[in-house]
Symmetry: none
């Protein structure tokens, strides 16, 4: 349970604040100063320990008044079905197979009727319409994976 490195310490610090509030906003440089590390270390911590799979949503803004916002989200009780689908999608998927996945999501109440239509609109052939079919299937897979991943969140 002891902290072995600075990343673990920062992770624990952020999670201790998140225990109080459901959402926090930090200034990257301030936290880096606080823990005497380079700013990009904060990115490393977030990328490795505050993923959506772990139940965190991260947003940020650059420039004056910039920030990094970390929000804790509730995950659906049974993520296995999503994991299987993401694996099935892999890095390439046809329109037909993607439609089947969307249908399954709808039947399992992970998507409403309208949501299913919107997702379908995003990935259908007539939308992507790339002359390179391989590339089209690849992009469709990226979109499907991202959406499946997002469905881990109970709310949102």
């Amino acid at each position: 349970m002891q902290n072995r490195n600075i990343s673990d310490i920062i992770e624990q610090y952020l999670k201790s604040i998140l225990a109080e509030a459901s959402q926090i906003e930090i200034k990257r440089s301030e936290v880096a100063d606080q823990f005497d590390c380079v700013p990009s270390q904060i990115n490393y911590v977030i990328k490795t320990r505050f993923t959506l799979q772990n139940g965190y949503l991260v947003e940020s803004k650059r420039g004056g008044g910039g920030y990094i916002r970390i929000a804790k989200v509730d995950l659906i009780s049974d993520p296995d079905i999503l994991d299987e689908m993401i694996e099935y999608v892999g890095d390439s998927i046809s329109e037909t197979k993607a439609f089947q996945i969307i249908q399954t999501l709808y039947e399992n109440d992970l998507l409403t009727h309208k949501e299913a239509h919107l997702v379908a609109a995003a990935i259908e052939r007539s939308t992507l319409a790339l002359s390179d079919n391989k590339l089209e299937d690849l992009i469709r897979a990226k979109i499907m994976s991202s959406i499946l991943n997002r469905l881990r969140c109970a709310d949102q």
Copy 2:
């Protein structure tokens, strides 16, 4: 959700007035004085936060008695705005601008919170993640257009 910079503060001020009236008229120099900034800062705020894709119409007049008028547009009662948005998207759009559109659709109840998140997941940079930025903006535009079109038929 604090204000982090003067632009955010001015944005919030203007939106708080707009919450009362559907349309407001301001004097650029007065608002600049009020918030102790240069007048062109007001232009920056308007240009980045009160565009049509943000759901606002802006008119102005120079010279004596000049003004800047900001009006809120109602997407639901004005379906033409969807067409204008599709036209605005064109065949290429950045992540930032697409996010603004999604935000506007959400604020006007054309998308639920979850639907907005799903659409965002489909078009965000980390999803499309193409080395070719031009192609990425092009595909994002195709998806956004398809989604906007789908929203024309209110219920599915």
